[in-house]
């Protein structure tokens, strides 16, 4: 029967190189397809594609009926060919999301590729590649938690991202140096599907600001504009480095975030629940996940410098706390944490191990020294 023949042909196509992972997010074993674009995609990405019906129509390889014309198109196209076309001119700094990234990034990536064709026509990249960007973002107030519209200006020439409290203000409320800037999407924590966390260093402490834009494209354009600015800054700072070396440094997602309990330096204080963020070698804790500044920041070095992570707490520790302890040994003191569940504990230990087992770079020694000289 024709039906069976088509299904067999499609399953055969799925085994071709390039078709074995989702064309948009790299998830393994896709079994959906856009029969207008000729790409094999995963179930999640098919959910995004079907919202752009004038560009993409999706079908399941296994659950839908296909006709000859559609199967032919899939055979003559496929993921590798589609990439050569729709991803031919991606700027090196542009963030290509994968299946573990938030919906906003994945959706805008798919729209940028196929709907706006941004990586075929370079002039469409201007919003994030021009080296200058200004506009309004909703920014969460530091003290009252209300989101208010604020003007933001990103200027590569000035090496900074600035924002203004009033439209006609001459002086910016904050100047964030591109050198220390980071941006990471945090929709769940911020409570907005487009929520972006921007961090910078203020007197060597991490300052958090939380912003969003109602329009998904605008928000992702801001994110990529920040990455572009960081890219161009790093190209100047590290002239010999290749794109491949610089791209992972443009923005960082956190190694892990979540609640743990901690005790104080005497280790006799009661355990208190705090929100922890592991940002590379910086472990920060907050009373509220959306606090502007951390209550404390701890530098986590490497095992060569006698940093260690141990499962459990010292036997002498008394008091009420969550059951799953972690001890961090630094040259100065021990930090004692407690996790609510075992899986949480294991994830935190894995995050700590990751940085501790990595030898320190010369710049990181400088960062460590800053921590030691903090008042």
């Amino acid at each position: 029967m024709a039906k069976e023949k088509y299904k067999k042909a499609l399953l055969e196509l799925l085994r071709r190189e390039g078709n074995d992972v989702c064309a948009d997010c790299d998830a393994p074993d896709p079994d959906w397809a856009s029969h207008t674009l000729g790409v094999f995609i995963c179930l999640n990405c098919s959910g995004i594609h079907r919202n752009i019906p004038h560009v993409s129509k999706v079908k399941s390889v296994r659950l839908d009926e296909w006709d000859n014309v559609q199967v032919e198109l899939m055979a003559s196209s496929g993921n590798s060919m589609s990439k050569a076309k729709y991803e031919s001119k991606i700027p090196p700094f542009y963030y290509k999301p994968t299946f573990s990234d938030c919906l906003l990034l994945r959706e805008q990536w798919i729209r940028a590729k196929y709907e706006r064709k941004e990586f075929i026509y370079i002039e469409k990249q201007e919003p994030y590649s021009a080296g200058y960007r200004e506009g309004f973002l909703w920014k969460r107030g530091r003290d009252n938690g209300q989101f208010l519209s604020r003007k933001f200006v990103l200027s590569e020439r000035e090496g900074a991202l600035k924002y203004y409290n009033k439209n006609d203000a001459k002086e910016p409320k904050a100047i964030m140096k591109i050198e220390h800037l980071n941006a990471t999407f945090q929709p769940a924590k911020i409570g907005n599907p487009h929520g972006l966390q921007i961090t910078y260093l203020k007197d060597n402490s991490t300052r958090n600001i939380f912003v969003y834009h109602e329009d998904g494209k605008e928000m992702v354009d801001w994110f990529n504009a920040i990455r572009a600015a960081r890219f161009h800054y790093l190209q100047v700072a590290f002239p010999g480095a290749s794109d491949l070396d610089l791209v992972p440094k443009l923005s960082r997602n956190y190694l892990k975030e979540g609640y743990m309990e901690k005790t104080g330096p005497k280790q006799t204080e009661g355990f208190k629940k705090r929100w922890f963020t592991m940002d590379d070698r910086r472990l920060m804790y907050f009373k509220d996940p959306l606090d502007a500044f951390a209550r404390g920041e701890v530098f986590i070095g490497s095992k060569e410098n006698s940093y260690k992570v141990l499962e459990g707490l010292p036997p002498s520790i008394q008091g009420n706390h969550w059951q799953h302890g972690i001890t961090i040994v630094t040259p100065d003191r021990k930090f004692l944490f407690a996790c609510e569940t075992e899986s949480d504990q294991l994830e935190w230990i894995a995050a700590f191990q990751k940085v501790i087992s990595r030898p320190m770079l010369p710049q990181e020694y400088a960062v460590e020294a800053h921590f030691k000289h903090k008042p």
Binding site: V58, L63, D64
Partner: protein
């Protein structure tokens, strides 16, 4: 005696009414279900299998089954039919090409023994799209006026904004009084 009556009455009122939400893939079934539940637009992927939620409208409890619409899933719709009081058929009003398939599926359902007593609510969804068919056009194409053995109602709506959904639910609650 009064107490017993009150108990029986509350039992009757809190009785759950089984609803199935059907339609072709990408018609908007899951989006409608979660608009009913939360008044919010959720991002959806194609439904493999089904979603089920309890929706309460003015003391009336509906147990709504949202069933995947992909070609090969349609043959398993009948496993959800028993005790169904309402069929919500969601139509993508922009998808003219497949209206004939919807017609086929609709009349196949209406002929099914288990759905003999079910009422049919047809949502003409995606009314916000340019060039979409009106509820009247869809009604005419599906020859709804020829349906004599099932109560039916067609309602235009836009699941993304929620427009028209309440009117659909109201028709359903009004039908319960009739029984």
């Amino acid at each position: 005696m009064g107490l017993i009556f009150a108990k029986l009455w509350s039992l009757f009122c809190n009785q759950e009414h089984k609803v199935i939400i059907v339609g072709l893939d990408n018609a908007g079934k899951t989006t409608i279900l979660y608009q009913f539940l939360m008044n919010e637009v959720v991002h959806t992927s194609p439904t493999i299998g089904s979603n089920v939620e309890e929706i309460v409208v003015k003391n009336t409890h509906f147990l709504m089954w949202d069933i995947g619409g992909q070609e090969s899933l349609r043959s398993s719709w009948n496993t959800y039919y028993s005790n169904t009081e309402f069929i919500i058929l969601v139509v993508d009003s922009i998808d003219r090409e497949r209206l004939s398939i919807i017609k086929e599926e609709l009349y196949r359902m209406l002929a099914h023994e288990d759905l003999r007593k079910a009422a049919v609510l047809i949502f003409a969804n995606k009314q916000d799209m340019k060039g979409c068919m009106s509820a009247a056009e869809i009604s005419k194409y599906l020859t709804l006026s020829s349906i004599k053995d099932h109560p039916w109602h067609i309602q235009s709506c836009c699941a993304l904004t929620g427009e028209g959904l309440c009117q659909g639910l109201e028709w359903m609650t009004s039908r319960i009084g009739v029984r």
